[in-house]
């Protein structure tokens, strides 16, 4: 028995490692050629008054004069040694530039997820535990409405009303905890409604299952039924969504970072695309890609651990 379990985990790891390699190679290849179509970084480095000779010199110095496939081959060869090259603009290792801003993004993602869970779990439990009352119905409709509001629109409205109209300052930038509030709320405002609705559905479903009836019949109070039986099962069912949301947060907070001037990966990405700093753009994509993939894998592993039936399901595209 334990051997089959070990075997299953080895296979799980092998498959995911292979997929990660495919992802990174695919991402590198796509971006490498896309970015080279996007512009010539030599002109940005040399400036508006550069002569043709200077451009040629810059291209030679940065290896931009070689055929694209040669540049690609040497980039991949360096990548295999975990060398992501240097920024064309600041001459610093591209990976450092990304790792420097990563904590800010992870902080934001973590805060967003925490707020999402803090709102969605109690709300979902409350909504799903009992038959609808007018208050529940109104909340459910509100959640449905909020589900359609993009996170960045929530962010803009929050900035407009809380920060500017009501003077609840400061709202922007990356400072102390007071600057965390609005970005956190924007992300949670976007993600929590979805999660709350799923938890509510799961709780409601669980409440009608046989084991709950059994628990009720054996004298468990409503509180115990909800928190001891229905909610844990509902949360298990919502793990997949929460995991996807966390992965989304890591890659999808670009716009939120932009709005709140949060000095994270999104900000770095926009800045380096503007200056055609290819190595940094690529490093951002690779780091974010790896991170998202890892998060998804961890969620998969968690689900596998919690619910071994899932491992049988391998027929998805």
């Amino acid at each position: 028995m334990s051997r089959t379990v070990a075997l299953r985990w080895t296979r799980f790891a092998a498959v995911h490692l292979r997929d990660l390699l495919i992802l990174l190679l695919g991402l590198t290849t796509l971006l490498f050629f896309l970015l080279r179509l996007a512009g010539d970084p030599a002109v940005v480095i040399a400036g508006a008054d550069a002569s043709a000779e200077q451009l040629a010199e810059v291209r030679a110095a940065y290896g931009l004069d070689r055929p694209a496939w040669q540049q690609y081959a040497s980039y991949v060869a360096r990548l295999a040694r975990f060398d992501l090259g240097e920024s064309l603009i600041s001459a610093r290792p591209a990976l450092h530039a990304v790792l420097e801003v990563l904590p800010a993004t992870l902080t934001l993602a973590g805060l967003g997820m925490a707020a999402t869970l803090a709102i969605a779990v109690p709300l979902g439990a409350w909504l799903g535990a009992h038959w609808p009352t007018p208050a529940r119905r109104a909340t459910a409709s509100l959640l449905f409405f909020l589900q359609g509001v993009p996170g960045f629109v929530i962010a803009l409205v929050l900035v407009q009303w809380l920060a500017i109209r009501l003077g609840m300052l400061p709202a922007l930038g990356f400072g102390g905890p007071s600057t965390w509030l609005l970005p956190m709320l924007s992300l949670a405002g976007f993600l929590a409604p979805r999660l709350a609705r799923v938890i509510a559905t799961n709780v409601a479903q669980a409440m009608s299952e046989d084991y709950i009836r059994t628990a009720r019949a054996s004298g468990a109070g409503p509180r115990e039924v909800l928190f001891g039986h229905a909610l844990p099962n509902a949360l298990l069912g919502a793990t997949a969504l929460a995991g996807t949301q966390l992965a989304f947060l890591v890659s999808g907070v670009v716009v939120i970072e932009f709005i709140f001037a949060w000095p994270g990966v999104g900000w770095l990405l926009i800045e380096s695309t503007r200056t055609l700093d290819f190595p940094v753009v690529q490093a951002v994509a690779l780091v974010v890609g790896t991170l998202v993939f890892t998060l998804n894998t961890v969620v998969d592993a968690l689900l596998l651990k919690l619910d071994p039936r899932l491992s049988a399901a391998g027929s998805q595209v």
């Binding site: 940005v44 400036g47 200077q54 932009f258 001037a261 200056t275």
Partner: protein
């Protein structure tokens, strides 16, 4: 002693404080000032990666050049006290005595020459600043405080050009290399770097009390806030004390007790009309180019979009730049005249005009371009705006391989406030020119050979008139730099688009 044409220009006050200066008793000095900026220079403390803002916003606090522009736009001594042209191709510069770098090393002729030596090296010539010095053939140490500059062609504007070349401490530079030095820059400026503060986006500088322009503040902090709205909010909230600002936000800021100041940006915003590539184009006809100039209502742009701080333009120089001729009025806004000129040139039905523009996130340029688009459409020139990335725009600019008929380009006389700089790129002297009039190019050459400041200014005014007639661009407006600040900021002046850091002071209790 020949003080190369400095201080002889029609002097118009650069800085105009919009709100009455605060009537606070000036404190003894010290304190910290927090300045919200959009971005740390991409090359950090390596001052050769650019010749304007955002880089100079921090570099001018850390470094000095041999010369500099004062707050009225005049060339003034910096590390060099005096200079003279001993022949058309040789200049002597006498350095300021007793200047030291922030690490204590002496800034003598040897040290300054080392900077120019590196800029002339293979790696140095690749930089934006090294590239500007391509006419300098040799820099020679003639004494502990005397340097000789040799140029290939005569260059009357050399002292002004050198205002863009910031001097680095040579031992650190040699030891650390450009990338290492960028992280730990050492210069002669009023402040020295403590920390780039990358994690919290806060570059901290401390006073360099031994600087020849010793500051009145203890500390200067640059807070990186890429977004305009963020900076203004932080200013209102008292998180920063100084920021640039958009004209449209000034009423809001004033209502909250903040002060503002503005200064000409030494630029004339324009749409360059491509005629020099040999492609047949309606724009080849000067009547068409003048018609486009008459079509655009520059006054309403200056009044409404620049809040009356900018002014309509009709010549290459802004009104504070050498070569500006106050007699030359902007093209009158006259759509009927524009239509008449177009039909005289055979384009009664107008034509298609594609314009490549770079729109910054601040959005002010985008608004102006859209007004221009509408004004051109109204006289029958069917105009399309294409937003390009800066890299894309620059590639076309350098190669001359434009797909569009025109593109956004400012006549930028910064960083040394000399109109020959933008005139050169609106001429055959630019590689892959987009506008080429051999007569104008020859006249430009003679201007640079004229070393008498009065005669040079007169030649430039004549050239300005010729450029106005030739209309290689749709002249739009002279743009302005606008700053907003806490009422506790004192001694605020703007020189070369950057606050004069040594004069800044904080008049509230120290933080």
């Amino acid at each position: 002693m020949h003080r190369a044409w400095q201080g002889r220009i029609a002097a118009l006050a650069l800085t105009c404080l919009l709100a009455a200066p605060a009537t606070v008793a000036i404190a003894a000095g010290g304190g910290t000032l927090r300045y919200g900026i959009t971005v740390v220079p991409p090359t950090y403390g390596n001052p050769y990666g650019g010749n304007g803002t955002p880089g100079t916003l921090i570099w001018y606090a850390l470094f000095d050049a041999l010369t500099r522009l004062d707050d009225e736009g005049h060339l003034a001594p910096a590390l060099a006290l005096r200079w003279e042209a001993v022949s058309p191709t040789e200049w002597h510069f006498e350095l300021r005595p007793g200047v030291r770098f922030s690490n204590g090393r002496v800034a003598d002729a040897e040290a300054v020459a080392a900077t120019f030596e590196w800029l002339g090296s293979e790696a140095g010539r690749r930089t934006v600043i090294g590239n500007e010095l391509r006419n300098v053939t040799r820099v020679e140490v003639r004494g502990p405080r005397t340097l000789a500059f040799h140029t290939g062609r005569p260059d009357a504007a050399l002292p002004a050009r050198l205002a863009a070349v910031l001097i680095v401490e040579p031992a650190s530079w040699a030891e650390l290399g450009p990338a290492g030095f960028a992280k730990q820059p050492v210069g002669t400026g009023p402040f020295a770097l403590v920390d780039w503060g990358e994690r919290d986006k806060r570059a901290v500088l401390r006073a360099n009390p031994d600087s020849w322009r010793a500051p009145r503040l203890d500390r200067l902090e640059f807070r990186v806030m890429p977004d305009n709205a963020v900076r203004l909010q932080a200013l209102v909230a008292g998180e920063i004390d100084l920021s640039d600002a958009a004209v449209d936000d000034l009423p809001y800021l004033r209502a909250r007790g903040l002060r503002s100041a503005s200064a000409p940006a030494m630029q004339v915003m324009s749409i360059a009309l491509i005629t020099g590539t040999g492609q047949p184009s309606p724009l080849a006809d000067p009547r068409v180019r003048r018609a486009l100039n008459h079509a655009v209502d520059k006054q309403v742009i200056a009044d409404k979009l620049l809040g009356g701080l900018g002014r309509p333009a009709g010549q290459p120089a802004s009104h504070v730049t050498v070569g500006y001729d106050p007699q030359l009025l902007p093209y009158r806004h006259d759509p009927a005249l524009a239509r008449r000129l177009l039909s005289e040139a055979g384009y009664a039905d107008g034509f298609e005009l594609d314009i490549d523009v770079v729109v910054t996130s601040a959005g002010g340029d985008g608004a102006i371009y859209q007004v221009v688009q509408q004004d051109l459409n109204d006289v029958g020139v069917r105009t399309t705006l294409h937003a390009r990335t800066f890299g894309d725009w620059l590639r076309n600019y350098l190669s001359g391989a434009w797909k569009a008929d025109a593109f956004g380009l400012s006549w930028n006389s910064a960083p040394y406030n000399d109109v020959t700089r933008p005139m050169e790129y609106f001429s055959c002297r630019k590689r892959n020119p987009f506008f080429c009039d051999p007569v104008l190019a020859d006249r430009l050459e003679t201007v640079n050979e004229e070393f008498d400041p009065e005669r040079r200014a007169a030649l430039l005014r004549e050239l300005s008139r010729a450029y106005r007639e030739a209309a290689p661009a749709i002249f739009l407006v002279e743009t302005v730099d606008v700053f907003a600040m806490d009422a506790g900021v004192g001694g605020f002046k703007i020189a070369n688009r950057v606050p004069v850091y040594e004069d800044l002071l904080w008049t509230r209790p120290s933080r």
